[in-house]
Symmetry: C2
């Protein structure tokens, strides 16, 4: 709270009202630490504007006072992208008061929302109007759509619907110079110049501050089938994915790979969860939706799985026979992270690869990590359908888990080197933030870093938008 001083706070209060300029430690502390408690910062103040115009005014004040701005949504990011640094020079700009659903256009199948609307409320507003908004994440109750946009969030339905990036038609953005760009177009086709909106999506608040968005809506799924298939190895998972895509096409919404170890850790901490196809090395959790009139989805899925078992692509399969059974299968997947956390800290990776490269990557990485860290345990799960794995490394049984974390950088480099060699990404869905900023420099080609810097310089020449993040 040292920097800036009374004048800045007075000007910010004039912009958003004194009640929305927080400076008391008890008020600001929740905004200065990320939810996982990995990053801690300080700030001149936390400001909570209530409209895009107020956001713009805050940006103008900060520009004139040369104060960095850290935009923040629900503070559920994975990479510290919304946490200020320790200098205390920055203002945290919380978007949570921009929380209106501005409208739903049923004939156009679009919804216009402000940045601070929690994802679950976007989903609910869509459902209330008879539609489906497919973005779905563990943190959907508290993350905001603005944060989802700024980090290009992924989740469990990317296989069918794409990342957040692919769900957006238009944006309203406050630019670094304090002007508002109204790009809230609700058009599926618009070839009038550069696609500016995609620059701001996934830029983590470093190029502009997203204040509202027009999002695509989809027909509600009327039928849903959830299944857990047992498979012999990652090659089998890739073959099963291909078979299901061919047989079910767009009906295939989710395809999650889970290793036996990941499943057993989950079940250890959630012993009442089912174990419908026990004793196999790998599993695929599959979700199939149909929004059409077909009521034969179950039969269709059974047919495709029968083919998979007959051709030895799958070893066994359990198809949920009720909504409760389906939820229990999903709980097996969704409780892995939390169960793992209870076991102790993990060296985590959020990687993606071409799906075809995953079996070879898993072989090579297991070999390299076993050699480097004998006895360390690999807990592997993730969205195989879009090539995204959460690839985690736990201490060998008996070794101090916290001390094992000292190996993080070395393990990261082993994993990320193997990912990079195979054309993969070191951050599939979590972003860069401050966590992977150095790692980004290690793996991005200089020409691509130069391009990113040129864009940053063009849109934020004074560098006040979320400095120290991404680039």
């Amino acid at each position: 709270m040292v920097h800036g001083g009374a004048n800045v706070r007075t000007r910010l209060s004039a912009a958003v009202g004194a009640a929305n300029v927080l400076t008391e430690p008890s008020d600001v502390d929740p905004f200065l630490t990320d939810w996982r408690g990995r990053f801690h910062g300080r700030a001149v103040a936390v400001v909570r504007p209530g409209s895009a115009a107020e956001v713009a005014e805050v940006v103008r004040v900060c520009r004139e006072e040369q104060i960095p701005i850290v935009a923040q949504g629900g503070n559920t990011g994975m990479c510290g992208g919304a946490t200020p640094d320790e200098t205390g020079h920055a203002v945290v700009l919380s978007l949570t008061r921009l929380n209106r659903v501005r409208g739903i256009d049923t004939d156009n199948a679009t919804i216009t929302v402000e940045a601070g609307v929690p994802l679950a409320q976007v989903q609910q507003a869509a459902a209330d109007a008879g539609f489906h908004f497919p973005l779905s994440l563990a943190s959907e109750g508290s993350c905001t759509i603005g944060g989802n946009l700024s980090t290009n969030a992924g989740g469990t339905a990317v296989l069918r619907f794409g990342n957040t990036r692919e769900l957006v038609l238009g944006l309203e953005v406050v630019l670094a110079d304090g002007r508002i760009w109204n790009g809230l177009r609700a058009l599926r086709k618009d070839n009038t110049g550069y696609d500016l909106k995609q620059l701001f999506v996934g830029a983590e608040g470093t190029l502009g501050i997203i204040t509202a968005a027009v999002l695509k809506l989809f027909p509600k799924p009327l039928a849903r089938v959830t299944a857990l298939a047992a498979i012999a190895d990652p090659e089998g998972a890739v073959a099963l994915l291909r078979l299901l895509k061919r047989g079910l096409s767009d009906r295939l919404v989710g395809f999650e790979l889970i290793s036996a170890l990941a499943l057993s850790i989950c079940r250890k901490h959630h012993p009442d969860l089912p174990d419908p196809v026990p004793g196999h090395p790998w599993y695929a959790l599959v979700q199939v939706d149909d929004s059409g009139t077909s009521t034969a989805l179950n039969e269709q899925v059974e047919e495709v799985f029968a083919e998979a078992v007959e051709s030895s692509i799958a070893r066994d399969v359990a198809i949920a026979q009720s909504h409760e059974q389906a939820q229990a299968l999903w709980a097996l997947r969704e409780n892995i992270s939390e169960s793992q956390r209870r076991e102790g800290p993990n060296i985590k990776h959020d990687i993606s690869l071409p799906v075809s490269a995953i079996p070879d990557f898993l072989r090579a990485s297991e070999q390299a990590l076993s050699a480097a860290f004998p006895g360390a345990q690999l807990v592997i799960f993730g969205h195989l359908g879009d090539g995204n794995l959460h690839y985690n490394l736990a201490a060998p049984p008996g070794e101090d888990a916290q001390r094992f974390m000292d190996n993080a950088t070395r393990a990261n480099h082993i994993v990320h080197d193997l990912v990079a060699e195979r054309g993969g990404s070191i951050s599939a869905e979590h972003g860069i933030g401050q966590l992977k900023r150095e790692e980004l420099k290690r793996y991005k080609a200089p020409v691509e870093l130069d391009l990113m810097r040129a864009i940053k310089q063009a849109l934020d020449p004074t560098g006040l938008l979320n400095p120290g993040k991404v680039l």
Copy 2:
């Protein structure tokens, strides 16, 4: 052929081989006029590099010699974006020798192609590998995928698969400084920084020169139903679209609106085409695909259309009973432009609107145009499913068609003003090129033009990439 002179041609010949530096009028002329014959230019030479490295070398030579570069694919653009200006200062850089399919990854469902591969060859290569590449345009036999990417081409399957923009995972681009950016990633998820590729897609060669791309592939459709529905008015078309989306979901691939006049002009010049539901004011051509195992698609479509007729949303419907019948229905749509051309010149518009705004727009524009040009004929058709109309104005019967074209700017402004008021776009799928450059300035907000200029300045500071186009 005045500018540049011998030195430049020598250097270009060193870069790509003398045989690939065209300067004879008979050789260069086809590259200097757009296919519709609306734009004519001159050039120092036409260069035909054979690789990305050669493209880069040409760019470096041009940069050093301060020669503008006009990239060109199949020369099938609608807005003169690939035609040089009349100064003769530019080099036309033809990408057609970059014509290799670099590879198909079946487990990853991706294809990697060079910029000069004709779209039809991309489709064929995908089909040969058991996949579907959904981009489909009238010019697919001669347009190149690089041109499709550079103009973000649309077509008839955008409703389901999106524009070219949504089909690309990675790009290789030669930048204005002559460096090659290898962004040929084949990943569905990659959150490592700004989404650079989408900047180059749709930029019409003004920010960089796309030399290769990784594209998404989809399961082959196994079942297809094509139908022509008669409807009372545009409101009925919007209601039918909504009903079909709800009932058929992703199976709905195409939804084309056709006015009775558009259909009758087509049938006048193609009298052997069918007239299965005669005597209605509006029609919707509907295509439904299924790549799943379902063989009941026909029944399903019949069921939804039965509901549409019962509820008076559709007046009548003809469902094709054979591949030949389906093709004949599509021919009714696909021959409209050409039939119209035979009737004489037209004042054309390639507009998009929120689907919900289309009925009101059609009423308002008909009223305004009737008042301004009594007796003029509106020929309306297009991709209603994604809000895109081809909205054309023909001379009143008896009036000189060529002289009627003098009204183009006035008619454009009437139509585009009404489009802009309703949040629409003055170029839905054809781009800006040189045709709509002034119109762009009329309708884009200054803040958005500033953003575009900042991007242009950042990526092409010397302004040698396709000057006079887009911005």
